[in-house]
């Protein structure tokens, strides 16, 4: 196995894992029964999926002869910082709009 | 100096920047820069006329990039004339504005200066996309100016004006996309070169693109059925803005003239685009504008409708000349711009003098007891209704003579003559109502504002000497145009000949580059 093949294999792995998690998150969004449960899929799985794709592309581009590609890390960094805040904001909206439906703390509303 | 052609754009732009940069320095600073910017344009305009008058076409390649790749400004007789005309109405309007209009809201000075820059850019550019950009500059400035001082009437008219023009801008871009997509160039002169060799299968799309362009210009010029917005907008806004707007419709006329003659006049399959519909619409525009003026209940509305009439007249003159326009139309264009601009300023001063009745065409408890205003009204009414001996008469004679025995010439004659008669009668009625009819007792008069929406009254000192000078300058326009009729007529005929020759323009812009490198795509 040449170095190139190894890198291709690694890239493929990350790409597949990334795609899978992105899909997983969206299935969660589509399938889960209420807003708060739906929130879990996208915030975690989709973010992780994109992160995985980013690593894949880093690996891929780094072996294309352009030197180490670090730019993509910025995207990952950004996503990991913002995803919780988005979730927080969305939850607040849902709390205001929908109230607590399932099993919420009695005094949270 | 070789930078002459760009000065009319750079000067107001620079003045606007200085006004904005010093926006905390107070009103006196802003006004000083504002007026200085305007006044500086006077010698520059005269210089441009002098430069272009000789018949040379000066091409200014921005960034040093040659046409058709870079943007060029083209200074020929026609563009120099339009720039000078802009200056001629802008400077008095600016003077009028500094009597108080300019304090009715924010950023008046910068908007006004940038509007001038936009106008001059539109007149000078030789690139059709750059024309779009300058259209947007002048439009955005005009949006702000139109609603300057706010009030329901202005905002209502402004909303209509803005939304229509935004749609027009989108259409402009559609046309440009199709033109570039078929011709592969944006330079007017280059379009003239490319068009004749276009394969026949491309004709339909190119024709449609040009038709869209024509529609855009017709909207700006307020050609029926795209004219209804104009009277409301122009009558609602402040006088100095309306005065400047007198040239706004002419931008549409100019653009149509420039593009149709230089751009798509070069190939038979696009040269007949304005036939056969332009003339009927132009005549209908004259009729509608005249009816609107007769129906008007305010002087400003009368004048605004006269602007519509002037659009119809200009397009009729163009249609009567197979899509072009000769010196007659250009002379009339200069005349009508000066006169309507002056009339807006006058309406404002009359309104201020008459108290609560403003410029309503009803008797008033306080008719303006001012020989100056009455005389100004006389001069402008004579000029506007094409009565001898002023420029309106000369212009009308020129147009009548230039279209006679063309197809539809008789219809143009009838339209112009009837509209002239009605205008004369209604201005006589207006004079009677505004100056002569006195209401029995001021306190018995109900405060009867005219039906045309609520007023946005500019609280400024209209009696000031500045507004008198502004008015005087503009009112002098028509008599001056009469006295100088011979040289002006020579100039505009030469301008028209230069435009219609097309080849000098193309040669000046493209130089000796007969074989412009083109890439076949895709």
């Amino acid at each position: 196995m040449s170095g190139e093949m190894i890198s291709e294999a690694v890239t493929s792995l990350f790409v597949l894992v990334g795609g899978a998690f992105a899909l997983l998150g969206s299935i969660g969004l589509a399938r889960l029964p209420d807003f708060f449960t739906r929130l879990h899929g996208p915030t975690k799985a989709t973010t992780l999926g994109v992160g995985s794709l980013v690593i894949g592309s880093m690996v891929h581009l780094s072996t294309q002869g352009n030197g180490l590609s670090l730019r993509e890390l910025a995207i990952t960094l950004f996503l990991f910082i913002t995803a919780p805040v988005s979730a927080h904001l969305l939850s607040k909206v849902a709390l205001r709009k929908l109230g607590l439906k399932k099993g919420g703390p009695p005094d949270a509303a | 100096m070789k930078h002459a052609a760009i000065l009319p754009i750079v000067i107001p732009l620079a003045a606007a920047i200085v006004v904005l940069a010093g926006h905390r320095l107070g009103l006196r600073f802003a006004r000083a820069v504002f007026l200085a910017g305007g006044l500086l344009l006077v010698p520059v305009s005269a210089w441009l006329i002098d430069l272009a008058g000789g018949g040379d076409i000066a091409v200014y390649a921005l960034g040093g990039w040659p046409a058709p790749f870079g943007i060029v400004l083209v200074l020929d007789r026609l563009s120099a004339l339009m720039v000078a005309l802009t200056t001629a109405i802008a400077v008095p309007a600016m003077l009028h504005a500094t009597a108080g209009t300019d304090t009715a809201g924010r950023h008046f000075h910068a908007l006004f200066l940038l509007q001038i820059a936009g106008l001059n850019g539109a007149f000078l550019t030789g690139d059709i996309f750059n024309l779009f950009v300058f259209f947007e500059v002048l439009l955005l400035a005009s949006y702000g100016l139109l609603v300057h001082g706010a009030g329901l009437a202005r905002v209502r008219a402004g909303l209509t004006y803005v939304i229509l023009n935004l749609t027009g801008s989108a259409l402009f871009l559609v046309a440009l996309a199709l033109i570039y997509g078929m011709l592969g160039t944006l330079n007017l002169a280059d379009m003239a070169v490319v068009l004749p060799g276009l394969p026949e299968r491309d004709h339909a799309v190119v024709r449609t693109a040009f038709a869209f362009l024509v529609a855009v210009f017709a909207l700006k010029a307020a050609l029926l059925p795209l004219s209804f917005w104009l009277p409301h907008a122009y009558a609602a806004t402040s006088a100095s803005v309306a005065a400047l707007f007198a040239i706004m419709t002419k931008v549409g006329v100019y653009a149509l003239l420039r593009v149709s003659v230089i751009g798509f006049g070069s190939a038979p399959f696009t040269a007949d685009l304005l036939q056969p519909w332009l003339l009927p619409l132009a005549l209908a525009t004259i009729a509608l504008g005249t009816a609107g003026a007769l129906a008007a209940r305010r002087l400003a509305t009368v004048v605004a409708n006269l602007v519509v009439v002037s659009t119809g007249t200009l397009f009729a003159a163009m249609a009567g000349n197979d899509g072009g326009a000769d010196g007659a139309a250009l002379y009339y264009l200069v005349h009508t711009t000066l006169v309507t601009a002056a009339f807006f300023l006058l309406a404002d001063r009359i309104a201020a003098a008459r108290g609560t009745q403003r410029d309503a065409l009803e008797r008033s408890g306080r008719p303006p007891d001012s020989a100056l205003l009455a005389f100004a009204f006389l001069v402008l009414a004579v000029a506007a209704s094409a009565m001898p001996p002023l420029s309106g008469f000369l212009g009308k004679v020129m147009i009548l003579r230039s279209v006679q025995f063309h197809e539809g010439g008789a219809a143009i004659w009838i339209a112009l003559i009837v509209s002239g008669l009605v205008t004369m009668a209604l201005l006589a009625r207006a004079a009677s109502a505004l100056f002569w009819e006195v209401a029995p007792a001021p306190e018995a008069m109900p405060v009867a504002l005219p039906a045309e929406g609520s007023y946005s009254v500019d609280t400024h000192r209209l009696g000031s000497r500045r507004t008198a000078v502004a008015l005087g300058l503009l009112v002098a326009g028509s008599p001056l145009l009469t006295v100088l009729a011979a040289p002006v007529s020579d100039y505009v005929r030469a301008a028209s000949d230069q435009l219609h020759a097309r080849q000098p323009y193309v040669a000046a812009v493209l130089g000796q580059r007969r074989d412009i490198a083109r890439e076949h795509r895709p």
Binding site: R31, F36, R71, L73, H88, L100, G103, P105 | -
Partner: protein
Amino acid sequence: MTLFYRLLPQPILSLVILALWLGLAGSVSVGQVLLGTVLGIVLPRLTRSFWPDPPRLARPGTAARLVLTVFFDIVVANGQVAKRVLGPLDRLHPRFVEVPLDLEDDFIATILGGIVTMTPGTVSVDIDRERRLLLVHALDVEDPEALIRTIKARYEAPLKEVFQC
């Protein structure tokens, strides 16, 4: 030390900016390092008024360990989410959990909230400033107390240590 802090009031931020710059530029030439350093010095100072009281990193080592923990949790436990998302929905036991906070600083509490959200099974819904508690939504939880204990021990305690608060 004071001179250092006067020059670099937020050293971590400056470092992050430098790293980000080099990452973006895709090069570690002298010129880029210089430019990144300048930005790292200038930008935090320019924006200091927006972040007047940045917490100071006291234990870089603990911080690194915490980062690794979180990363590990994210990767390993995402599988559980997959199982729950794809599995039968009627077995889910979603519910809200209130986690009392020992952290005083909002910024650090926000970091905790972020960690809680990114780790599987839980999403931070809100930080209640008055009652100093973190409202968490858990996708499938049998024992809320266990969850609270885990969060506090695994993430909050190290955070407190890292920032010495």
